[in-house]
Amino acid sequence: MFRRALENKQLVAGLALGTVVLLLGIIGPFIFGDYAKQSLSMTHKPVGTPGFMFGTDGLGRDLAARVTFGIRISLIVAVSVTAIAVIAGTLVGLIAGYVKGAVDTVISSSIDFVWGFPLILVAVLAAASIGSGLVPVILAVGMVNTVAIARVVRGEVLGISEREFVVAAKSGGYSTPRIVIRHIVPNIIPVVLVLSSYYVAVAIIAEASLSFVGLGAQPPLPSLGQMVSDGRNFLRLNHWEATIPGGIIFAMVLSVSLIGDGLRDLLDPRLRTAVERAVNK
């Protein structure tokens, strides 16, 4: 397994890229210090300015400090929301797919209801309802990702619960929890694992987009999306203000997608269609 993982180029590339960004996010804020400190004589400085590795923004703030802290926020939001969505989505999907009947009808129609709406619209509406900030982003991404995962898990469970080994376990008189935990859950773990990496990517993009339009993380919190938004007005003067945070968002999304593709091929190439259907809406 380990050797096969090392031979999987996408997985290795994704993990390598992801590790670099992760290290930046973990160590960076300790090295570069206060992300809000302004040096008003040092505005719009390019990359490589002494003391400011990534240069400074229009308020003379150290871009290295802001970008690395932004990575932290982005990753903490994306990973924790997805973790919750994975647990909740798997539970809901298991219940709908295994219990079937009226329970399934209610759950499936609620899933279809939410699934029809684009994530960004849901997030904007959440911001309209409870005010801008990271909370509406977390709620919207959490809800949409939970539904997305529940939808796939339900489908998988429906198929698996018809299979011989489950029927055999049932006729063997095993309890429902035992059947679900010992016979069904192990079979859905690969698809959930692969999906979760895609939904981390979705969460990163959603947080960055919302922050970009001003509805996500609010200043003085540094968010990568907001930095791209601030920097885009100074493309001619000092493009680094927008291209560094933007490039890092892209690197994060790319690394998580590569890990997802790699995991998919590693765990079970047959997952390809199931995953594409889920991700491509």
């Binding site: 029809g116 684009p118 904007v124 960055a208 509805l215 791209v228 933007g246 999304v253 790319l254 491509n280």
Partner: protein, 304 residues
């Protein structure tokens, strides 16, 4: 056909439910209307009276029905920030968004399908590899980042297109390209795999054996079989484009529904948010309806 009627009824129910949900969510926002509309010196009684006048103290369901009644009569209320009539704003914003969204949809299929066909017909060549890898990248690029890159390249550096605003064809190119990017990438992939799948079918072998030219097989028989499922799902692309339009219109300063909605949320201008979010919700639901109807029409087995 009954499937479609059933779907239409279900959609109507869905429309009612989701517009009520959106309505309630935004009423919940707690943004104080009186702070925006009354002078700071207004007393608590004045504020209460004002709330009563505009019906804010009634149950949410009553407010919702009243609101729908007004919408049907064309009375959409006024913006809280500049007191503009929403009904006159609406025509212009919806028109602008339709132009942008329409251009994006045309691009999704007009660019995506030929590229996908090209990749399929040159399978395993450098051309196929480059089209496929660009389309993988196209799906991973967040669209505000893509927007920044195209503005930087085509506007700041080359000066070919304006970076923002509206007026004429030139202003439409960059925003619609960015809005369409993910859809193009997706269509390329779907077209390529559908073409390849159909090319390996038995009927293609039979057609070849009966002496039809390759190009005729390719364009007439294989293409038709491949495109139906792709185009029938166009409705799903509508939902996607609506979501992205919120970001893309804001970036490019395109005066459409997405931009006014985002600005409305930023300024807590709830009559604006109320109406334009309803517009988008309706569009998304109709898009989904079109997708499921198209799916049924394209799959004779599902028609009963």
């Amino acid at each position: 056909m009954t499937a479609i009627v059933k779907q239409a009824l279900l959609t109507f129910l869905l429309l009612m439910l989701s517009s009520l949900a959106v309505f309630a969510a935004i009423r919940l926002s707690g943004g104080d209307v009186t702070a925006a509309r009354l002078p700071a010196s207004a007393t608590a009684e004045d504020r209460e009276l004002f709330r009563e006048q505009i019906g804010l103290n009634k149950p949410i369901l009553v407010q919702y029905v009243n609101y729908l009644g007004k919408v049907v009569r064309g009375d959409l209320g006024n913006s809280l920030t500049n007191n503009a009539k929403i009904s006159s704003l609406a025509t212009e914003k919806i028109k602008n968004s339709l132009i942008l969204g329409g251009a994006a949809i045309v691009m999704v299929f007009g660019v995506g399908i030929p590229l996908g066909m090209l990749a399929a017909s040159r399978r395993n060549t450098w051309l196929d590899a480059s089209i496929s890898s660009v389309s993988v990248a196209g799906m991973a690029v967040p669209n505000f980042w893509l927007a920044l890159l195209v503005v930087w390249l085509f506007s700041s550096t080359l000066g070919w297109f304006p970076s923002a605003g509206q007026g004429g064809f030139k202003y439409l190119v960059l925003p619609s390209l960015v809005l369409a990017a993910e859809g193009i990438a997706l269509t390329v992939r779907m077209t390529r795999s559908a073409m390849l799948e159909n090319l390996s079918q038995d009927f293609v072998r039979t057609l070849r054996a009966s002496g039809l030219s390759e190009s005729r097989i390719y364009f007439k028989h294989v293409l038709r079989n491949s495109l139906l499922p792709i185009i029938s799902l166009a409705g799903l692309r509508v939902g996607q484009i609506v979501g992205y339009a919120l970001v893309v219109e804001t970036i490019f300063g395109w005066p459409g529904v997405g931009q006014i909605l985002v600005n409305g949320v930023l300024r807590r201008d709830y009559p604006i948010v109320q109406f334009f979010s309803l517009v988008l919700v309706v569009v998304v639901i109709l898009g989904n309806l079109a997708a499921s109807a198209g799916y049924v029409l394209a799959n004779p087995r599902l028609r009963k």
